[in-house]
């Protein structure tokens, strides 16, 4: 029996995928205008959704997609122009489908009303003519030309077949338009063709995403053409077959021609073809539940810990028995173990990675709607969609990015009149990009708008009582700009419903810091603003700097460590009771975490201290530590709900010797430093 729940899950994830595709295609329809391929894709989405929703018994969805098909079919046959109105209706269809999907997700039924949108589709459809009856059947291509390129292996196989007394054939098969899972059908045909010999090559490749209706098989077979035709012509969904003889030298002939022929084709669709290829390669996937991968990740985490322990044990044994040969073997095994676990860890991490394009895909639609509401013309540029990030990070970073985008469009980009007056292009550009940089992902949101005015920022902060005039006067321009991150700060003088929803930039920053990330802002007045976000690739394993406070070991996420410096005691100054050091022309406050954590300070024998300078965003603080142990991969574990949230601690990890070290939470440390100033001044003085 079919498992209803499993089917439902498969259905929903299919719907999700198709809707995403639909959104991309409708946007392309609007921006790039009508192309055959584009309208075909939209049609196909509607068709697929119709089929699967009918199978699952969701009538509203079935009916809606059916009506969409009708309209699309008319567009496809040139009976209906692609107007803004048509695109808007298509967008409404998309929204309604989303709502239907959410209904189904929530309670397994659909109750969103579809009548209105169906009526709109119908009235749109009536603009065109009667629904065409027959679908145009592009004939099977002429024999003689074929899609196979010269390939040594194929040629060798054909020659061998000839020697074995088999003939070579070119079989063109045209599948029915309604054929679902063309890949499977293709394999069934190939299987049939294999009966009297073997299939040498297939074009296009039979992949999951294969969409072509026409499939060419290059077959070596002991059968004659007629027999082959009989083998396959009675198969389901096979509309037309054409079989012709083939000679090995035809492969070669095409090769010389290919210098000329394909150029025409390529120039017409150079990049899309390449993209399609990529898409095909990517789509050879299987679906795996997230929890299974999470479980694998946990197990790998334990292996990482054990491996470190084994190495340490090996070292200890080596010290105890320097000449024992067994320890050589142990070390070899341990080294191999380390390598294998390293690779295992990497591949499990990779399975958790998703291209950030999944998230970016949500933006064009949002920007389109926003630019309509605000009557600003926006050109959205997205770069680095293929950049891969841990699933959990992608989930968490969505909202902050959306907020930054909204801000850029609402507050960053000026109105058309202002842009005109400034002599800027009328269309504002918002650029969002992602790229890997060492062990981090860097995301930027950039606009070519007005930029942030430090003076206005300062005034605004003072007016809102967030800052005293005195404090404001002491700020540098960059510090003024960074006031955007202050809680309760919003620069727009009028609150629009776009970005003035009470969710400030401080929330964005908190979000990013929770992910062990950093956010920075750069702005040039009149030219634009750039927000730069740096994030770790994953949240499960991070590089940590192990430090000792007296006898206790703590881990600091490497991502927030800015610098490690050794200071002479005489270089530590006291500024209003606050110990500070000078680092690169900046005054950096020092913090004795010992006092915060009630760990006795170690009596100092030397004249210098290690200071680990940590930073989030623009803030920096120096932590005085007693010993630096080094940096290593640490597996982040929760301390559990029994202990609950501890200020300054984000989790725990297990070290090589099996003991537990707490992971310091830099955001929390800044809060600690802020809250308890009097305590450590007093102790610092003693």
């Amino acid at each position: 029996m079919f498992d209803r729940k499993e089917m439902m899950e498969a259905f929903l994830s299919e719907v999700n995928e198709e809707l995403e595709k639909l959104e991309i295609e409708i946007l392309a329809l609007e921006t790039a205008g009508y192309t055959d391929k584009n309208i075909q894709s939209i049609f196909r989405v509607a068709h697929t959704l119709k089929g699967s929703s009918a199978a699952m018994g969701f009538n509203e969805m079935k009916q809606l997609t059916h009506e969409m098909e009708n309209v699309l079919d008319q567009i496809r046959h040139g009976k209906l122009p692609v107007t803004t109105e048509a695109v808007n209706v298509l967008f409404q269809c998309l929204d309604t489908l989303r709502l239907l999907k959410e209904d189904i997700e929530a309670d397994r039924t659909s109750h969103t009303a579809t009548d209105a949108i169906v009526a709109e589709l119908r009235s749109l459809g009536d603009g065109g003519q009667e629904k065409p009856v027959a679908v145009h059947n592009p004939g099977v291509a002429e024999a003689g030309e074929h899609p196979f390129e010269w390939n040594e292996e194929h040629a060798a196989a054909l020659l061998q077949a000839e020697l074995d007394g088999m003939g070579a054939f070119l079989c063109r098969v045209m599948l029915s338009e309604l054929c679902e899972m063309k890949q499977v059908r293709g394999h069934v045909i190939a299987e049939r063709l294999n009966a009297g010999g073997f299939v040498v090559a297939v074009h296009p490749e039979l992949t999951e995403s294969m969409e072509a209706r026409e499939i060419c098989f290059l077959v070596a077979s002991a059968f004659d053409g007629e027999e082959l035709q009989r083998q396959i012509s009675n198969l389901m969904d096979v509309e037309q077959t054409h079989i012709s003889g083939f000679r090995c030298d035809m492969l070669r002939a095409q090769e010389t021609e290919s210098a000329l022929a394909p150029i025409v084709e390529q120039s017409a669709s150079a990049s899309p073809a390449g993209k399609e290829q990529d898409a095909k390669r990517l789509s050879q996937t299987i679906r795996v539940g997230v929890d299974r991968i999470e479980n694998m990740m946990n197990l790998v985490g334990e292996l990482v810990i054990d491996q470190t322990r084994i190495i340490q044990l090996g070292n200890r044994l080596r010290d105890a028995y320097p000449s024992d040969e067994n320890i050589d073997v142990l070390e070899q095994v341990a080294n191999h173990f380390t390598r294998v676990i390293g690779e295992l860890q990497e591949s499990v991490m990779k399975t958790r990675m998703l291209p950030i394009g999944q998230l970016f895909n949500r933006f064009p639609r949002m920007v389109r709607d926003l630019s309509q509401t605000l009557r600003k013309e926006i050109h959205l540029v997205m770069e680095g969609e293929e950049t891969e990030l841990d699933r959990t990070v992608i989930e968490e970073i969505g909202d902050p990015l959306i907020h930054l985008l909204r801000n850029a469009i609402d507050h960053g980009i000026e109105s058309k009149e202002q842009r005109l007056a400034m002599g800027k292009p009328l269309v504002g550009t918002v650029r969002i990009s992602a790229a890997h940089q060492e062990n981090q992902v860097v995301l930027t949101v950039e606009d070519d708008g007005a930029g942030i005015d430090p003076v206005r920022m300062k005034q605004s902060a003072v007016r809102k009582g967030l800052l005293s005039q005195q404090a404001a006067d002491a700020l540098t321009d960059q510090e003024c700009i960074e006031l955007v991150f202050l809680p309760g700060f919003s620069t727009a003088s009028t609150i629009s419903d776009v970005s003035g929803r009470g969710v400030g930039m401080d929330i964005v920053r908190n979000h990013i810091e929770k992910l062990n990330g950093l956010i920075d802002v750069q702005t040039t007045q009149g030219q634009g603003t750039t927000f730069i976000i740096k994030l770790p690739l994953t949240l499960a394993i991070l590089r940590g700097l192990l430090v000792k406070l007296n006898t206790s070991t703590f881990a600091l996420p490497m991502g927030s460590v800015v610098e490690i410096v050794r200071y002479d005691k005489r270089d530590i100054y006291s500024l209003k009771g606050q110990p500070v050091v000078k680092n690169r022309e900046k005054v950096i406050p020092l913090l004795w975490l010992h006092d915060q954590f009630h760990i006795p300070r170690k009596p100092r024998t030397r004249d210098n201290v290690f200071v680990v300078i940590v930073g989030i965003a623009e803030k920096r603080i120096g932590l005085i530590v007693d010993e630096l142990i080094g940096n290593q991969e640490i597996v982040v574990k929760s301390t559990g709900s029994y202990i609950g949230k501890i200020d300054g601690v984000s989790g725990a990890t297990i070290l090589g010797d099996g003991s537990v070290a707490l992971i310091l939470d830099v955001t929390g440390i800044f809060q600690l430093a802020g809250q308890t100033k009097p305590v450590y001044i007093e102790e610092g003085a003693s």
């Binding site: 985490g301 334990e302 810990i305 206790s552 070991t553 915060q596 954590f597 009630h598 760990i599 574990k637 929760s638 301390t639 559990g640 709900s641 029994y642 202990i643 501890i646 200020d647 300054g648 601690v649 725990a652 297990i654 099996g658 003991s659 537990v660 070290a661 707490l662």
Partner: protein
């Protein structure tokens, strides 16, 4: 059979005192091992330790009962108990035995120095009497 299991208790020692913990509440008993202190937490929380790759919070029962601290000995054990959906370790001076009480009486005025709300009752077996701990109360913050 069922009643017999119902009256089975793990008896632990804390100085001169003996306490019973119902066997169904004990997940396992491990030897004392390195415990990492957790700053800014409950005063009776000893810290966290590594239980086969998982982080186990551990409390100190002496501190919980406001008794004098004692040095660890080779008898010191961590009783791992189930609390809500988590495991929590309890440091005790020693684990003595598993006893089947013949009877459990409600708590009355006892000689125990320990707060009454930590007690579930008095377990009797032959001549001896043992306080039965209410683990939920002991572990609750």
């Amino acid at each position: 059979m069922e009643t017999e299991q119902e009256l089975q208790y793990v008896v632990i020692a804390l100085g001169q005192e003996r306490y019973g913990i119902h066997i169904s509440e004990v997940y396992e008993i491990i030897k004392m091992q390195a415990i990492t202190a957790v700053p800014k937490s409950q005063p009776f929380l000893e810290g966290v330790t590594n239980l086969r790759g998982k982080i186990l919070p551990v409390i100190n029962l002496r501190r919980r009962f406001k008794m004098e601290p004692a040095d660890n000995s080779k008898h010191t054990r961590i009783v791992v108990a189930k609390y809500k959906d988590e495991l929590v370790g309890i440091v005790v001076d020693a684990v003595e035995q598993v006893t089947t009480f013949t009877e459990i009486q409600p708590t009355s005025d006892t000689s125990s120095a320990v707060d009454r709300h930590f007690m579930q009752g008095i377990g009797l077996v032959q001549e001896e009497i043992t306080c039965v701990l209410n683990i939920e109360q002991v572990l609750a913050g």
